[in-house]
Symmetry: C2
Subunit: 192 residues, 2 copies
């Protein structure tokens, strides 16, 4: 039990450190210090910082809001609220951090096959959930029928990831405003 | 003259190292080694690695293809060719590196005001050039008239930056295909 709990403490501290500082800037010592465990205990739990990063990313993915499926709201409203909730989190953190999946994708996917695979899988799963919501919204007549849901979902998620980077660079809502104006305007919305 | 040239060698090596490995993974020693200059000479030319990163980013920005303005092609065709050329560069490098502006934005903009300002400025300039091209294409009747060129340009550039991250994570053309299918289909294109 104690062993399991020390492992969890390390994963949670790693997620926080990787998200705040990036993969390379967050050293093992910084992570074990933040977790309040001795540095020597790290390798009892993880083979490498890379293996820890994969677990931290999985933990991040699981902890993210699961608000796309189910609920009473209309599918297009759910999709919009999904991104608005994410935007609000970033604004609350003064336009920092963004999305750990995208950050790892930009910083480290070129250099670690296991992290790249976890980033790929995380995007794929997310895009599939978005695609299902778009398809549902099409059946309800709220999203234009000429869009392929899979292609539109991929595009939308990629647009979102770029939007997060731009919002952080600008420290302003402008990138978010452009995202919502275009995505939930001309891009997705069916003409009345 | 020799001094100036050593400075240039360092900037060029830094650009290559930052683009390949990221900001934090590329140390000053790695950069001066790659430039073929003594490490000790670094601080004769730059106050900090941060100051060097700003210069490397400016150098990157200036070296990028300037194919959006002028030329004989129609504005919408120029815009498409602009992104296709960038895509081809990334595919040629086996889906690595992506865009240095976006990479710095994701990795380091939260932690360095001078780098964040340079990233912000680089995106802004790029988005303005795209906006001017979209406006030109609207006047030619090729892009739907209901789009605000500035908002559409910001959205498009952000979508592009996210597309680069996804393409690197997937090591496949799928993200690029979604970008071109949506951007140069339902998003921008005027109905006949």
């Amino acid at each position: 039990m104690a062993r399991r709990s020390m492992r969890n403490q390390i994963v949670e501290a790693a997620l926080e450190q990787f998200h705040t500082h990036g993969y390379n800037a967050a050293g093992v010592k910084t992570i074990t210090d933040a977790a309040g465990v001795p540095k020597g205990s790290f390798y009892n739990h993880f083979d490498s910082k890379e293996a820890l990063a994969v677990e931290a990313l999985r933990h991040y993915r699981e902890g993210r809001r699961d608000d796309l499926t189910g609920g009473d709201a209309e599918p297009l409203a759910r999709l919009r609220a999904h991104f608005e909730g994410f935007r609000d989190d970033v604004v609350r953190l003064d336009y920092t951090r963004g999305c750990l999946i995208g950050n790892f994708g930009a910083e480290i996917a070129d250099h670690s096959e296991v992290i790249r695979e976890c980033v790929r899988e995380s995007f794929q799963h997310w895009a599939e959930t978005i695609a299902a919501t778009i398809e549902e919204a099409q059946r309800a007549g709220a999203v234009r029928a000429d869009l392929d849901p899979g292609t539109a979902a991929r595009f939308l998620l990629n647009a979102w990831e770029g939007t997060l980077i731009r919002a952080r660079a600008d420290r302003s809502e402008e990138a978010f405003d452009a995202f919502f104006a275009i995505a939930f305007g001309p891009l997705l919305t069916a003409e009345d």
